[in-house]
Symmetry: C2
Subunit: 151 residues, 2 copies
């Protein structure tokens, strides 16, 4: 039997890997509605020179556009890293049904500040493919450090 | 002598009034860099069917695009309402120099949750043209309620 959370998190990981290839902090996200992926994205802060272009933000905008609705209460977001405060705030406004994340963000994760940032009806599940999601991020920052040393 | 904070807040109010005309929750924002307004915007959540399209978010994206920088540390945002958690998170990532807001948001304001959501170097000033900024919002919600009653 396939664990659908693992299946969908692999899709989010594919997005994160695209980010890695483009020298972006590798975080990927997808949004699922009625067993269908309706939006996918990865962090594009460097490419767009826009600090708001996190994977979650662009994916929320895409999904809302697809559904022509401000609300995503029947959707699940899969994201490779625990959302930051900005993204948690956006997920609150979208009234997202469920958030499944991979790696924990011990530095900027929203749940460190206050779990109540999320909408009270939103379900939250963490740690799906945590190792793979975290590995991608640590590899990225190690590569960055090595390049910085060479400069 | 002109109080520049009042001057710029009037510009943010002009934006908020455009929102009012378009049946959006009337919040407006501008971003100032070197005494020049480099970005302006108002809440467009209804028009775009996008819960992330707050005045602050679109204005941050515009200003970053204008400066071709992810950071707005030399900029001031004027916004007619205290930022929510999402927008405060975005202002954190942008490392905005200063935020000047008008009305207090007793319900969704970020500073109620935690003042530390903002970057430690960001200066914050509240209450500029508070009455006018709040009046626009209360008028909007009163109009909405009257229309809802008629339905």
């Amino acid at each position: 039997m396939i664990d659908m959370d693992v299946f969908y998190m692999r899709e989010a990981l594919k997005e994160a890997k695209k980010g890695f290839q483009e020298d972006e902090v590798p975080v990927g996200a997808i949004i699922v509605h009625n067993d269908t992926i309706i939006a996918r994205g990865y962090n594009m802060c460097e490419r767009l020179k826009d600090p708001t272009a996190h994977a979650e933000m662009t994916t929320i905008t895409s999904a809302c556009n697809y559904l022509q609705s401000k609300y995503l209460n029947e959707c699940t977001m899969y994201v490779t890293l625990e959302p930051c405060v900005m993204c948690a705030g956006a997920l609150f406004w979208a009234k997202i049904g469920k958030v499944v994340y991979g790696a924990r963000d011990e530095k900027e994760g929203a749940f460190l500040i206050d779990k109540n940032i999320m909408h009270p009806k939103t379900k939250i599940k963490g740690g799906v493919l945590m190792g793979e999601c975290a590995y991608l991020l640590t590899s990225f920052f190690e590569k960055k450090r090595k390049l910085d040393k060479k400069k």
